[in-house]
Symmetry: C2
Subunit: 260 residues, 2 copies
DNA sequence: AACCAATGGTTCAAATAATGAACCGACTAG
DNA sequence: CTAGTCGGTTCATTATTTGAACCATTGGTT
């Protein structure tokens, strides 16, 4: 692993649950020497990517990321387009819609939209990291990822989030085959106990998978009718967003939607 | 310069005007070898900090920065606080208020607020980089920066933005002395010909300068009364924001405001 | 069609920068 | 007073980064 990758990996340990981390902790989390971690943090700090908290000890993400995010959004209004598509999808299904993006070997939430229809709804947290094996979005993305990436992901330890989470690589590969056939991934209680979710992958101009759009509903509310509605609407919105972003679905993908 | 700093410096060459840059161009801009640039970009790309455009050639900022920005926002609601303070300042003065942050040796716009009162107003662009010597914000920040940073900035070539831009390091140092005495920087036509702006620095918990808050008005509208109003309100809002962010003004700084 | 000058990407010996064990001084808890 | 943290620093060893030269392509010019 290159030095730059190590430095960037430090940034991945910050989360909503853990927004500030001390030097020693961070070194432990990242599996790096304390001195190395310190030097990397110093460079990140000079660039404004991290800063030290008011009381002078712990580190947290710095203001530079705000600036870059503003520029990114100006160059590619993806967040904006995603928000619009999600709102429409959520309105059509009356359930929670969300979208995640692939970044390296990680899948992270970009945005989500709730429906006002129901009092109970599946709630999401943005910038959250999604497990590939435990979420419909993860399965949708993984199914269309290169074989070596699938091997990498499935050879790492797979967390058993709930009692229904699939953790057997062989079983997961079988599921992925199914996803490749239908173009749609489904997960019942794999991430949160009472959530039934569907996901459809998104593609770039080279037909590589870049993320997934998903609808999450409480298990209790799922009926055959709702399922049909979700599948149709999700398919429409996901392929529509892929096209709107200048991407193309792989050969034969469109036919799958018609079959569903 | 460390490898990480070089990689991060690549990201600084993306701007609103130049959101996509080719490998060779970027190598030239950054003053690095093409092979080096390629390797660094590859690492950044794997982390999702840059990506290649649909047609497969040029590089642009990637989605990872969005994720980090979301986390930063959640951890430090600075942008919100800044927006609120700017709106209030703009309402009080009926002129454009804006705020910029120091990131390494660069000063960049974070946010701004316009007043609806006047038809003509000074317009701003966010994520813009501000020159230290040509803007009131830059002078305010520089005046309270460490001597070695002042030396670094003033020894680099100083762009003559307008005919009124100060470019003589000796003259600028004299201006900085004045700013240190009053705690307030002023620039008439230094950045844009017809703009009269005032700025007050912002500080962190270690009383180090982190940026500046400023009010920009058309030269034609500036009167002694408006000037007094701007100085008073700007001072109030800037010191208030510094406090709200957990920062502290340096010794004696508070007294300066009373004098102004 | 031949040519030229770019482009993005790759290679490998040489040079440089990253590394990590040990060490500070400061602090906290027992 | 001791033991165990913490953030930060040092420096000889080591592994990584570096850059000139090299492809294969592409697009424009003659």
């Amino acid at each position: 692993m290159g030095t730059v990758a190590k430095a960037l990996s430090l940034l991945d340990h910050f989360s909503r649950a853990r927004p500030e981390i001390g030097l020693s902790d961070l070194a432990r989390l990242a599996g790096l020497n304390k001195a190395t971690t310190y030097r990397l943090l110093s460079e990140l700090q000079h660039g404004g990517f991290v800063e030290q908290t008011g009381t002078g000890r712990e580190y947290r993400l710095g203001p530079a990321v705000l600036r870059l995010a503003a520029l990114r959004e100006a160059a590619v209004p993806l967040r904006d387009m995603a928000a619009r598509a999600l709102q429409s999808l959520s309105d059509a299904t009356h359930e929670t819609a969300h979208l995640s993006l692939l970044q390296g070997d990680r899948l992270s939430m970009l945005s989500y939209a709730y429906s006002p229809r129901h009092g109970t709804r599946v709630t999401m947290e943005d910038a959250q990291i999604l497990a590939f094996h435990a979420t419909s979005s993860g399965l949708a993305v993984l199914a269309f990822s290169p074989p070596e990436m699938i091997d990498r992901i499935l050879s790492a330890p797979l967390d058993k989030r709930t009692e229904d989470t699939l953790t057997d690589p062989v079983a997961i590969r079988a599921v992925l085959d199914g996803v490749r056939h239908t173009g749609l991934a489904e997960s019942v209680g794999g991430f949160e106990k009472d959530v039934h979710s569907h996901a459809v992958p998104l593609f770039d101009a080279q037909t590589r998978v870049i993320g997934a759009m998903a609808v999450a509903a409480p298990v209790a509310r799922m009926t055959p009718e709702l399922k049909t509605l979700i599948r149709r609407e999700l398919w429409q919105h996901a392929t529509g967003l892929t096209r709107a972003l200048g991407g193309f679905c792989p050969e034969g993908f469109v036919a799958k939607g018609a079959a569903a």
